[in-house]
Amino acid sequence: EAEVAQSPRYKITEKSQAVAFWCDPISGHATLYWYRQILGQGPELLVQFQDESVVDDSQLPKDRFSAERLKGVDSTLKIQPAELGDSAMYLCASSALFEQFFGPGTRLTVL
């Protein structure tokens, strides 16, 4: 069964360092989403891609976060510099029509 892949699964970093997360969507899924989930809350959208284009990044803190999907397949989310408040689960999801399938997530801890 096709799945969304993410790496790393866990990341511990110090404040002010740079971190990067990778996502490989289900093959053929044109739409890719990055969500952030703070402990005890529901996921919230950071950015949406349609193929290689950004559709919605209105909630992405652009002073420190960047996201790209250069060839319209896999995607990278970067944070530089990381802050304590960035500690969260970062979830990648992909969809072909409307139903979204989520990857295992990357748990980020900023010390």
């Binding site: 969500y35 809350q41 529901g42 996921p43 959208l45």
Partner: protein, 112 residues
């Protein structure tokens, strides 16, 4: 601003009992999603409800959608410990292939 409200946020129930989780939302969306999340894990899709009056059942869980009332319910029948998890409902932010807006989740604990 689109809002999705779940209640209760915390639910402790005994094995064998029935209970319902409610999800209210503020848009005219015709689609609603239910997900399950175990601690430290990602989201597992439970149900996709696509129209008014939709009802889906899987095992001890049954979900329904009333788009006129902007309400979905997740009913748990004869709860067992394995159902302990956090349950999220979500709706499309816009029409079409769009991001989801999630509720805060209902943390369910089933005790013997």
């Amino acid at each position: 601003e689109l809002k999705v409200e779940q209640n209760p946020l915390f639910l402790s129930m005994q094995e064998g009992k029935n209970y319902t989780i409610y999800c209210n939302y503020s848009t005219t969306s015709d689609r609603l999603y239910w997900y399950r999340q175990d601690p430290g894990k990602s989201l597992e899709s439970l149900f996709v409800l696509l129209s008014n009056g939709a009802v889906k059942q899987e095992g001890r869980l049954m979900a329904s959608l009333d788009t006129k009332a902007r309400l979905s319910t997740l009913h748990i029948t004869a709860a067992v410990h394995d159902l302990s998890a956090t349950y999220f409902c979500a709706v499309d932010m816009y029409e079409g292939n769009t991001p989801l807006v999630f509720g805060k989740g209902t943390r369910l604990s089933v005790i013997a």
